[in-house]
Amino acid sequence: MLALFFGFAALLVVCSLLVVLHKNPITSALFLVLAFSALAGIYLLLHAEFLGMVQIVVYAGAIMVLFLFVIMYMNLQHDVETGVQTAVRRGIGWLTGAVLLLVGTTLLRRGWFLGPANEQMPAMEHGNVAAIGKVLYSRYLFPFEITSILLLVAMVGVIVIARGRAKHPEEGA
Amino acid sequence: MVSSMPWLSFLVFFPLAAAALLALMPRGAERSAKLWATLAAAIEFAVSLPLWWRIVPGAPGFQFEEKVAWIPSIGATYHLGVDGVSGLLALLTTFMSLIAIIGAWTSVEKRSREFYALLLALEAGMLGTFFCVDLLLFYVFWEAMLIPMYLLIGVWGGQRRIYAAVKFFLYTMAGSVLMLVAILSLWQVQKQFSGVPSFDLAAFYAMPMHPSQQLWYFLAFAFAFAIKVPMFPLHTWLPDAHVEAPTAGSVILAAVLLKMGTYGFLRFAMPMFPNALLVCGPWIAWIAIAGIIYGALVAMVQPDLKKLVAYSSVSHMGFCMLGLMALNAQGFAGSMLTMLNHGVSTGALFLLVGVIYERRHTRAIADFGGLWKVVPVFSVVFLVVTLSSIGLPGTNGFVGEFLVLLGAFKTSFAWAAVAASGVILSACYMLWMYQRVVFGPVTHEENNRLGDLTLRERLVFAPLLVLIFWMGVAPQPFLDRMQPALDRTLELTKQRAVMSATAAGLELPSAPGRLSIPPAPIATEVRP
């Protein structure tokens, strides 16, 4: 179990790094898919089977396809990133990241402790899909409804932004 | 007028309403705007006149009080009231506003509706500031007043009007925001003390404060007021504002706006924080004295008439502050009288400068000379006003300065000795200026064609001259009206000093040093 976790974790970290490091956007995107998949694996290990599935379906399946679609639509080549400016940016970026990680872990290493564990949790033997479904439509009905509006807005928004050229001469003058 | 009528509110809001109506007048009504404005100001002045005889000088507290809840949850009230001090200053305001409006008839041709509307709005703001006895309301008027003045300077001003207007606004505001913090904090303290939130002045008067606590409050208030006065070295907005402002603006600025600062000291900073006052008073007095001399010296070398008068204001207002810091009856009365005097005399001076500026479009002293021959009436008026500004006995300036110096002397010989040299210096700069403008041969050909004072201008100056002499020869009616209120303030200051000190378990700090001459024991032994 632990070994599996380490494998997924390593895969996740490496793929994430490659997403950031790789020059070719398509490759980056593919690594991201891989990273998401690794994450799904970890979810499974954590007995979040439903999420693992959704992770694959939504992220690796839908979102990343969208990404790839866009990248290909744009026909992007390798990112050319040379010059002092880029180097400086990189240096600062990595340094900042390192510091962020450092301060974050320093704080957390002071001995954090978990909140109160839930005692009434139903036992989960074969996945938690049913439990999630139950909760989602009872306790979490309200946020669930919000997400529906959210997706509606996203749809409308995408249509507004990305539909064809301007129809009206005044627009975007 | 029945006393139940909101007389003070009428006084405050009538000009505002008139301003609104004026601003809403149709375009092309510029010509009649001045008439309507004059009418409004005249009505206002007429309605304010009973302030002269209806205020009972000896009656305690404020009179014609109007109190309406404003923001009850924080204890802010719309609370107006008047006493001898504010009544006189309000009269000065209505009077000088009328004068300024009539004085501006020919000088403002562009956008005159708006000009007069702003003047009237300014009048409303000033009256509100003098009448209100609620700290928050006071602050509202105090700041709101800046807007019309700012626009007057900025729109109808001279070359560098924008700089001057913005500087005026920001400088004054920078000072007053700290006062706002103090007010808010004071309100907090008051609420804890009495349990009832209130911005009412009386509530603050009734509250003892630890002397060490008072210092910061006092400094915050003093800073705000000192800028308005303006006290050296916070005065640099004044020359710019005066020079750039249109004549009417300068007149109002000098005549009334500067009084806000000294009035603020008298009404708020001093009685509310007496122990801090006792500590800071001598310092402020010395700064005031420095201002007297500094203003005079700098005025001496000004090439611009308005600037000269502006710096002379610094000097005169130094006298006002010195009188207040003397903390005795003479100093207070002198200071108050100097406020009125300065309002009349300096207002008249600015009007005079306006008169020649209107004709010659220059204010440089070097552009004039020998005017007596060309415009004798103007020169005579100018002379009288100059002498009043110098403080010649028989004119108003003398009585005020004398009482201030006397008051200062009673507190400290050195104050009076150094400050009195300002009397010499004022003669130097004013007479030198007068000489260069009016005496000598006519040096500029254009000046030969100057027209003398018109009938309207004579009518403007006549009441000013009457006041100059009246207040110089028989100032007692004025003194009678202000003194009880001043005495109460002084008494209140002393009481509160003792109250605060005892509440804090401290000994009362000694008053500023006195002359070692034994006080007058003789009042009875008079030779027949």
């Binding site: 600062i92 970026g93 900042t96 990241g97 510091v99 962020l100 974050g104 320093t106 704080l107 | 400088y171 640099t236 907005w237 500094y294 010296l297 700098v298 001496m300 070398v301 009856a329 003479q330 009365a333 002198g334 020998g370 021959k373 010649l392 006995p393 028989g394 003398f398 009585v399 004398f402 110096l405 006397l406 002397f409 009673k410 009076a416 009195a420 040299s421 009397v423 010499i424 003669a427 130097c428 007479l431 030198w432 000489q435 005496f439 000598g440 020869v473 007692q476 003194l479 003194q483 005495d487 001459i517 034994p518 007058a520 024991p521 003789i522 009042a523 032994e525 008079v526 030779r527 027949p528």
Partner: protein, 635 residues
Amino acid sequence: MLWIIPALPLAAVALNLLLGDRLGKRGTSVLACGAVLAAFGFAVRAVLHLASLPEPARHITEFVWTWMQVGDFSVDVSFLLDPLSAVMVLVVTGVGSLIHIYATGYMSHDQSFRRFFLYLNLFMFSMLTLVLASNYLLMFVGWEGVGLCSYLLIGFWYHKPSAADAGKKAFIVNRIGDFGFMLGAFILIAATGSLDFDRVFAAAPHVFSGPAGVAAVTLATLLMFLGATGKSAQIPLFVWLPDAMEGPTPVSALIHAATMVTAGVYMLARSHVLFELAPATMEVVAVIGAATALMAATIGLAQNDIKRVLAYSTVSQLGYMFMACGVGAFGAGIFHVMTHAFFKALLFMGAGSVIHAMGDEQDMRKMGGLASKLPWTHGTMLIATIAITGVPFFAGFFSKDEILHAAYASGHTGIWLAGIVGAGLTAFYMTRLYVLTFRGPSRLSHDAEHHLHESPPSMIAPLVVLAVLSIVGGYVGMPFQEGGHLLERWLRPVLESGEAGVVHHEVSRATEWALIFTSVGVALFGIFMALRSYLWNPSMATTLRARLEGVHRLLENKYWVDEFYHVTVVRPFVGVSEWLWRVWDVQVVDGLVNGVGYTLEGGSAILKLFQTGFVGTYALFITLGVIALFLHFLR
């Protein structure tokens, strides 16, 4: 009805202003002179009334209205007539009337005739207020009022820059004195609680006792004396008076000879109670008086402008008066004020007559031999000259002698000696003036010769009256009378109270005679020397001048006092002011204010640089912000 005396000229001023040019020259003359004459009439009436009262009751106060009453301090507008002010009011209205009449002739061709009389009446009002005031503050009103009129009248011909300058100088120098006056008054208020003469003097001996009290009264009197030096042109504030000769001559006669400049003496005499309490001040007064008398006399030796000679003579004579006050002989001082008013007014008016006749020429070097051309002027001037030089039986002799006697008698031998020398010098320069103007060969230009004419009767008549007074005016003060002479006895109710404070050294009759002979001898010697060097042997003056080149330069340039003041006071003041304005005010104080603005704008420009427009930068700052928050919690 005391108030009517100052009110009359004031009413004339008001009428003059109101009626304006409708008045005409004649109307103006009538109005102005009439008002002053009426005032004189009322004054005479009042004084007669005063004289009719028994001696202790000669003290009439008249309350008019409360001027100001603040706290425990109160001042009234109220007038006081007692023997001292009676003398002054008579002199002022009397000589004033004469000069008014004279001026109608003198100024008859001036464009600003009306304005002149307006000022003159205003001056009369102020001067009468000064002398009739019953308290220091009202006195101060007159005090400053005469200063104002002096300013206006000196600068009467305002188009002449020199006149305007002189007027301003007079006012400002006077203001310096007034500054002292005011501070002195403050001490009095602080000590006695009042400025009323009666109350101050009644309280003074009680309040100003002990070392602290003496110190206070010394300071007070010194400050008041500073005021007097300003008004009465004493060292160090005498510089304005010679310049004041820029004004029309009647003005010089009235203000700068007869009345205003003696206000200081009057004030000292009025305050003698205080001064006698402060012996140190008295010494100072005496020394300053003597020094002024001597110094002005020496300057007078070398001046060529007829009016300037008279001006320095005035300064010198005023010095005598202060000398008298300083040695405690206030009565002698007032006596000299009176006689001096007669003969000096006469001298000025005579000089005015000459100038008038000469077509506004004032340089004595261009005169000479006028005696025959201007007989009346010459005659009266001669009398006045004799009077001032101290020739016996003329007015000046009595008063000057009394002063010298008092100086000697009080033990101030040095002062006395200075007075004697001064008397000699006075005799010399006055005789020089007389000779250069009226005697010797004529040095007139052709034009002047042609223009020359005797003055109109309106000018001559006052001269004659004054000439008479210059002769007889001294007889009120005949020496060697038991119980003091007439004036002394008249003034006694006012002046005696304090006399106790001053020790009077009795001198023997013989010494007294010796003193008289000495002073007369010195005067005669001075006259003789002048006659010898300017009339009988004119070359001698030239030789003398050549021999004493340095001294002459020194005197001609008035010891360079003006220049000294200019360098040490005026220039530094203007310089400092310029610096204060251009550097301190504009650059430092305002620079700081604007500096705040510039700093903020600079900050704005810098902050704008952070806003690069790049998403990366913005994200970086967000991350840095998070890191900073972490660091905060890591504390």
